[in-house]
């Protein structure tokens, strides 16, 4: 027995739309299996992972908070991935954005300058992420160095830089030697939107980014250009689209959105710099981007699913004693399932036995 693929002539549009849902079902089934192996009931796990976090307004706000960095980073990544550029160092751009964005709040700490600090910090965060993404972009555009490897190496560099800063020069002198900076002024933090939770204005920024990206990707020449470069590089040259410029453009977009995500995390609900500002959002966002089929609306949906299961995973750790890594595992599995179901939409799959093929003539002509 072996598998044979043949391209589908016409793909039913609904099929394409349903493919991520199919992928989720597939990943869910596999996860249930693992949970059973770990000695828990999948039913109970489903309650905790999926239904639990949807229970009350507080939890829903937590989901939204978790979604913000995922949506921002994944939207940026969708530009890169559409252009067939594999920026997998969003985590590093996120961290560097958080570092650069924190400079001003740190310097002005205790001076009570108010929201202007926040606005400039957000811009500086974007700038930081963008600058950091320029390194892989330059190396790719001018020296043809694989952006996959270079962007990833920089993740470690950024994390070590942050670690050094919060243990060294930026450490809170009155922080009992904890590796963290002082708490930023409340005035330089993102405003909280609701009284009964932590939902902050980052949600609004993420919403704006999604809207703008939708327009840019589907209606502008720039969006067209990104698609052409990713889908047929020679045709892009024929259209007069410079691949170098596009590499820089999509990396800057992706880097600045990752940087924005970083500083929003800091100013939104952490309130200071410490080594663990990220919960792997830069990598999880890759799953989100694919789950959303590289479209902004899809990314919203994908981020919701991933945020839901992440919070569910935290609850499950407490309530079911299921390890937190199960969530990472599930997300990796989910990405694999998304890719598999993408394949199933473009190819028809047949099981073929290795026995001789029938040689009987067919009935009609």
């Amino acid at each position: 027995m072996r598998l044979e693929l043949s391209p589908r002539q016409n793909v039913w549009p609904l099929f394409r739309l349903l493919s991520p849902i199919f992928a989720m079902a597939m990943a869910g089934l596999l996860a249930s299996l693992v949970i059973m192996i770990l000695g828990q009931s999948p039913q109970a796990a489903f309650d905790v992972y999926v239904l639990g976090p949807l229970d009350d307004s507080w939890a829903i706000q937590e989901i939204a908070i978790k979604m913000v960095p995922l949506v921002l980073i994944a939207t940026g990544l969708s530009f890169c991935f559409r252009a067939n550029l594999w920026n997998i160092g969003a985590e590093g751009q996120f961290t560097f954005g958080a570092i650069i964005g924190s400079i001003l709040p740190l310097l002005t700490q205790g001076m009570g300058f108010g929201p202007w600090v926040m606005v400039i910090a957000l811009l500086m965060g974007m700038l930081g992420g963008a600058l950091f993404s320029l390194i892989p972009a330059y190396l790719r555009a001018h020296l043809n160095v694989s952006e996959i490897l270079s962007s990833l190496m920089l993740v470690y560099v950024a994390q070590l830089l942050l670690d050094w800063l919060v243990r060294g020069p930026w450490r809170d002198p009155n922080g009992f030697n904890f590796p963290q900076t002082v708490n930023f002024d409340a005035g330089s933090l993102l405003p909280v939107l609701m009284d009964d939770g932590r939902l902050h204005a980052g949600v609004i920024l993420a919403g704006i980014v999604v809207l703008v990206s939708m327009i840019v990707l589907s209606l502008t020449l720039f969006g067209f250009r990104v698609k052409v470069i990713g889908s047929a590089p020679k045709a892009a040259g024929f259209a007069g689209f410079s691949s170098k410029e596009t590499i820089f453009a999509v990396f800057i977009i992706s880097g600045s959105l990752s940087g924005l995500a970083g500083i929003i995390e800091v100013l939104g609900h952490i309130g200071q710099l410490k080594p663990s500002i990220s919960t792997n959002a830069g990598f999880t966002a890759i799953t989100v981007a694919f789950l959303g089929r590289l479209t902004p609306i899809g990314i919203l949906f994908g981020a919701f699913i991933v945020a839901l299961t992440t919070i569910g995973g935290e609850n499950a750790q407490i309530m079911l004693k299921l390890p937190l890594d199960l969530t990472t595992c599930f997300q990796g599995l989910l990405l694999l399932c998304v890719l598999v179901s993408d394949s199933l939409t473009s190819y028809q799959i047949r099981f073929v036995s290795d026995k001789p093929s029938p040689t009987t003539p067919i009935e009609d002509a």
Binding site: Q9, L219, L221, V228, A232, T359
Partner: protein, 513 residues
């Protein structure tokens, strides 16, 4: 089946092959005797390639049987085919650029084939067989340093080293000069006289008449006739292939030859890729109202010249390329389009069009800068749909849906769309590379007619092609490109196929350049 003393060497019975809905081979029968040179004729898309892929084990038929010397065989891979004695020479070569000639040949062998001789001995065998059949090769050269003709030699030597009883050749002369083609025919005749059966795929009727003793003609996946090409009229075979009378080209309306619209002067450009060709000191003028042809074997700098003229690669100085007297050597492709030039690359899917985009988006590809399609960065989607639809209507682009994906069009229809897209931009200069490559006869005639009419309307057309018939049919003047050097341009009346063939093989170029 035949159970007499002498069954045919190979016999294909009721072969059916489908790709999805499309029936590529519909109950095809074919018999070939030892020592016979048998032509498989048909247009692009008629099912020739599918049939020989089945015979070579690359594809499995959905129904039907293959008999080898009277016994039924199952050919599940090219290995199986080569074991019974079937070898194939591919049109788009099955070679590995970075490997040596000997490694390329060895790769196709099994332990069984090399039984008795190791890798060292293989090199000797390559040289030996090269001497026998006049197919000289250096076993230790990497393939990317070889010319197209030499690459074909590797394929042939690879096939011959396995002592085939049946040799299949897919359009072998498309990469050869007329003289090289004649040499190949001599080799094939020598093989056939030794008892080897030869299945010769072509759409060039004069070659088939010259070489083959029998011809099977395919059309739309069906076998429509089997005949003796030497005693059948060319016109008759042609109409059997096409299915109707062969369309004729209309002569252009009387028109004047105008000023120089494309001027190339001392254009030299080193290749960026180790597998590419450097351009050396190219001089060329194309006047408004004329078609200038550039002949040459594939891989002699045609794509590099196209890239330099289109602006996909910039020249070294502005004056090297002038469009309507304006120095354009350092302008990018969009700026050259703004000067009224259009370009049609050889590769349709992936270069001239994006396979996974609809025609309206593919229209944007080359016309986003010149047709008022972009307002403040936003695409005027309605306008791009309308312009694409104009092309579809005026150039008879046939497809199942109104605005299909480029990859869903047949080669001919996609090429008509691409031609139409560029012609409706009302160009002053057109540079086109291999416009009818792999296109059915009807579309090819339509495309050639469009080029004639375009020139008659005053456009300067530069036609790069490997099809000598096409060049002699369309060109007013012609030059030959060889190893990145371009010959003098001569009026078509002063040229013969033999002269051009010599120039394509590299002679004469020195004094002409």
């Amino acid at each position: 089946m035949q159970t007499d003393e002498a069954p045919p060497l190979v016999s294909m019975r009721q072969i059916v092959k489908r790709f999805g809905q499309f029936v590529a081979n519909d109950q095809i029968n074919l018999d070939l005797a030892a020592g016979e040179i048998h032509a498989l004729l048909g247009e692009n898309g008629a099912g020739k390639s599918t049939l020989v892929k089945i015979l070579n084990g690359l594809l499995q038929p959905d129904a039907g049987e293959i008999y080898w010397q009277g016994e039924q065989v199952l050919l599940k891979s090219p290995r199986d085919a080569s074991e019974v004695g079937i070898s194939m020479v591919f049109q788009q070569f099955s070679l590995f650029e970075n490997l040596t000639v000997a490694e390329n040949i060895n790769a196709a062998f099994t332990e069984h084939d090399t039984h008795g001789f190791g890798v060292r001995a293989l090199a000797d065998r390559i040289i030996e067989i090269g001497e026998d059949y006049d197919l000289n090769l250096d076993p230790n050269r990497p393939v990317h340093t070889l010319s197209t003709g030499e690459r074909q030699r590797i394929e042939i030597v690879r096939a011959l080293l396995r002592h085939p009883k049946l040799l299949i050749l897919d359009e072998p002369t498309s990469v050869l000069t007329p003289q090289e083609a004649e040499d190949l025919f001599l080799t094939l005749e020598k093989l056939a006289s030794g008892g080897c059966g030869i299945l010769y795929i072509s759409h060039k009727l004069h070659e088939v008449r010259r070489l083959c003793s029998k011809a099977s003609i395919l059309r739309n996946g069906r076998l429509v006739a089997t005949c003796d090409p030497k005693s059948t009229e060319t016109v008759e075979m042609a109409s059997l292939m096409v299915g109707s009378s062969v369309p004729e080209l209309r002569a252009p309306a009387l028109h004047k030859i105008g000023d120089i619209r494309l001027h190339v002067e001392a254009l030299s450009l080193p290749s960026q890729d180790i597998h590419g060709t450097d351009l050396h000191h190219i001089n060329l003028d194309v006047h408004g109202g004329e078609i200038v042809g550039i002949a040459g074997i594939a891989g002699n700098g045609q794509s590099e010249l196209f890239a330099a003229l289109s602006g996909e690669r910039l020249a070294q100085e502005p004056r090297h390329i002038c469009i309507d007297t304006l120095p354009a050597g350092l302008l990018d492709i969009e700026s050259r389009r703004a000067l009224g030039a259009v370009f049609i690359p050889e590769e349709r899917l992936g270069h001239a069009a994006v396979p996974d985009m609809r025609l309206s988006d593919n229209l944007l590809l080359s016309r986003h800068g010149t047709d008022n399609l972009i307002h403040g960065g936003l695409i005027d989607i309605r306008r791009s749909h309308r312009l694409a639809h104009d092309v579809v209507l005026q150039f008879d682009v046939r497809s199942a849906s109104k605005n299909p994906y480029a990859r869903h069009l047949s080669g001919g229809n996609l090429q008509k769309f691409i031609m139409g897209r560029e012609i409706l931009a009302e160009p002053g200069v057109m540079v086109v590379n291999q416009p009818t490559w792999g296109v059915d006869a009807g579309a090819a005639t339509a495309i050639r007619q469009a080029l004639i009419d375009l020139a008659a309307a005053g456009t300067a057309v530069l036609l790069i092609s490997q099809d000598l018939d096409e060049l002699f049919d369309l060109s007013d003047r012609m030059a030959v490109i060889y190893a990145g050097r371009l010959s003098q341009t001569l009026p078509i009346q002063n040229l013969t196929r033999e002269m051009v063939g010599m120039m394509m093989a590299g002679s004469e170029v020195d004094h002409a350049a």
